[in-house]
Amino acid sequence: MGLMDGLSNWLRQIIAVILLASLIDLILPNRTMQRYVRLVAGLFILMTLATPILQWMKGDFTSKLTASLDVVEHSPQRASQQLAMIEEEGAKLRNKHNDQAAQLVSAKLEAAIRSEVEQSEQRGVRKVDIKLERGKDDSLQVAKVVILLEPESARSSSSSVSSSHKEVEPIAEVDIHIEVEQWPKDQETSTGPTSESASESTLEQQSDQAVIADADQEPEKQIDRETRLRVSALIASRFGIATNIVEVKVPAVDVEK
């Protein structure tokens, strides 16, 4: 029974395909295409004739044929190249997008750091430079922060010996003031030794000033260092940026001039 069924099926298929081929041959518009279409139709007939052998040889060949025909239909020429081009384009756009995002982030961070430092240090910030780096998983990381502080004009007077300049500044001035004011008063009333002491005092004052001028250089650096540490610590605590990538620059103050 099974054999007869298969045989009748096979014969039916052959007849149908031959009919199909002849109909298609009729439908065809002209001679030029006829040879090519006949080739394909003949191949189909051949395949139908060989169906039992094909099935015996390699099982389900129809699905394979369907798949390969689909591949032929659905892959237009240079599809892979076009795909690559589109992907490249997409990557470019994505990079642009990321760059814009990075710029925005750095601008915001810059503004935040600037306002924060200005508030805590009570001095102007000339420039904040933020360098961003792309990590392995395309995430942005802060690579370097450079803060350039405004030179402190108020501190350029001679009183900058004190570390916390605000408090000690007036005291130092007052000290010097009193000394200078007192001596001439005594000089008017007394004679001789007082003049000597006056000259001595002026000498002392001069040396004092020299010491101050000398000392001016060293503590300046120290203060700068302290400021740097303070600012970087502030940024580390506020923004979670490691202190070793924060660089605070304090421009040299022209103390003498």
Binding site: I24, P29, Y36, V40, L43, T48, V72
Partner: protein
């Protein structure tokens, strides 16, 4: 539409084109194209009946639908290529018409490639190694 109407339209168009061709060859060509497209479009729908018959035949005989699909595609390619080539030929540009036909032939052959590959594989498998 009947065959008489179509033939009438064809005659009318031919006479008109013959008259116009003396004065304005361009319009003669445009008229020819238009009439050709109109007739083609009017009767391309009729192919639906033929295709449905073929479909039924394929369905009842149990041949794989891929065969029918591929053959119909081949017919479509042949028709469209032929149509375009004829229009271009009317304008007197034989070379371009032949290029269009060439493209159609290539597409038909590309359709045949998977079938050929399957047959060749089978034949190679049949041969004792």
């Amino acid at each position: 539409m009947d065959i008489l109407q179509i033939v009438g339209i064809g005659f009318l168009a031919t006479v008109l084109i013959l008259i116009i061709r003396e004065q304005k060859p361009m319009f003669a060509y445009l008229l020819a194209v238009f009439v050709g497209v109109a007739i083609f479009l009017a009767f391309v729908g009729k192919i639906d009946d033929v295709i449905s018959v073929l479909d039924e035949l394929a369905d009842r005989s149990g041949i794989p639908t891929v065969y029918l699909k591929t053959m119909l595609k081949i017919i479509g390619i042949a028709y469209v290529a032929e149509f375009g080539a004829q229009i271009v030929k009317d304008a007197g540009l034989e070379s371009i018409a032949s290029k269009i036909e060439f493209a159609g032939k290539m597409l038909i052959l590309v359709m045949a490639v998977p079938i050929i590959s399957v047959i060749v594989e089978t034949v190679l498998n049949l041969l004792p190694t």
